[in-house]
């Protein structure tokens, strides 16, 4: 069975240069042979990419200089309390607001002063009753 270029290239990509069944096609197809060469070079480049940098004697010190302080024990509790302070204040504000809303405002306890028309109507009613 003769494989087409697409299948050959898929096999090369999946299986590497020794992908089975590709030799015959590569010998007969210069374009796929060129593709296989480029792919092999790309794989070689991927294996060799990068640099050989190694840490110098001061690396650990440079890392240590950048470490944020780790809080332990009582410090952690203190820090947690500080972090909780805004939430506690907010809660206190909300509770105060709720308490204020549930208490009737002083004005609402006063009886409104009747208007002159109301007085007139009431006195007229009083007259009728008598």
């Amino acid at each position: 069975m003769i494989m087409d270029c697409k299948e050959i290239r898929n096999r090369l990509l999946q299986g590497g240069p020794e992908a089975p069944g590709t030799d015959g096609h590569l010998a007969a197809c210069p374009r796929c042979a060129a593709f296989a060469r480029r792919l092999a070079l790309a794989r070689g480049a991927l294996r060799e990419r990068g640099c050989d940098a190694l840490p110098d004697g001061g690396f650990a010190a440079r890392v240590a200089a950048r470490l944020p302080r780790r809080l332990v024990g009582g410090e952690l509790l203190g820090w947690a309390a500080v972090r909780a302070l805004p939430a506690a204040l907010l809660l206190a504000l909300v509770l105060a607001g709720m308490a204020a809303a549930e208490t009737a405002p002083p004005d609402s306890l006063l009886v409104a002063e009747p208007s002159s028309s109301q007085l007139f109507a009431w006195s007229a009613q009083a007259g009728e009753i008598r």
Partner: protein, 191 residues
């Protein structure tokens, strides 16, 4: 197996028990906030982290930055470390994630600037430079996955384990990366 593969393979290392005990003490002290103990941990693992980061970057400064990021992240996340797996495996995962994050952050301009420092090996320099130019067209995420697959020779399962990704995620990324590699290599035929 390449030297790097041997360096970062995940099988338990034949480390003497006293060395493992010393490392566990350093970890405990670091958790208690002792920076000297953590610096000792850094010195133990810095070469491994540099070599791993060095697989992905050409500029030594990039490697140094990633190595520093790795250890800073380790310091922050140390309370989450469970001693079920060796510390170096945990550190390898952090390092790979730092590499990946840095590659993703890099802008296209930075990548182009990086291409200028490509150095071709003595053998067939023209062909190598040409391939480097082609690889530079891939996205950093694609190069990351291809470096692990093709460069390190890791399997999908190994990559998933070492990065903490699902195998499906790795398969999808690998498929896309290979597809783009193919497109890039075939693009040269048409050009």
């Amino acid at each position: 197996m390449t030297g790097i593969q041997a360096l970062i393979r995940f099988e338990p290392l034949a480390r003497p028990p006293e060395a493992a005990g010393a490392e566990a003490r350093l970890i405990r002290s670091s958790l208690a906030g002792e920076e000297d103990a953590f610096a000792a941990l850094v010195r133990r693992h810095q070469t491994r982290v540099f070599r791993l980061a060095g697989r992905f970057f050409r500029r030594p400064q990039d490697v140094e930055d990633v190595a520093q990021d790795t250890f800073l992240r380790a310091w922050r996340k140390l309370p989450t470390y469970r001693a079920e797996a060796p510390f170096e495996h945990w550190l390898t995962r952090l390092c790979l994630r730092c590499v990946y994050d840095r590659l993703r952050r890099r802008t296209r301009e930075e990548s182009s600037a990086g291409d200028a420092e490509l150095v071709a090996p003595a053998s067939d320099p023209d062909a190598r430079l040409e391939v480097e130019r082609l690889l530079a067209r891939l996205s950093p995420a694609d190069r990351f996955v291809l470096t692990l697959l093709e460069g390190e020779g890791w399997t999908v399962a190994e990559i998933a384990q070492r990065l903490g990704w699902t195998q499906t995620n790795v398969k999808v990324r690998a498929h896309r990366a290979r597809k783009r590699l193919r497109r890039v290599l075939e693009g040269e035929e048409k050009g």
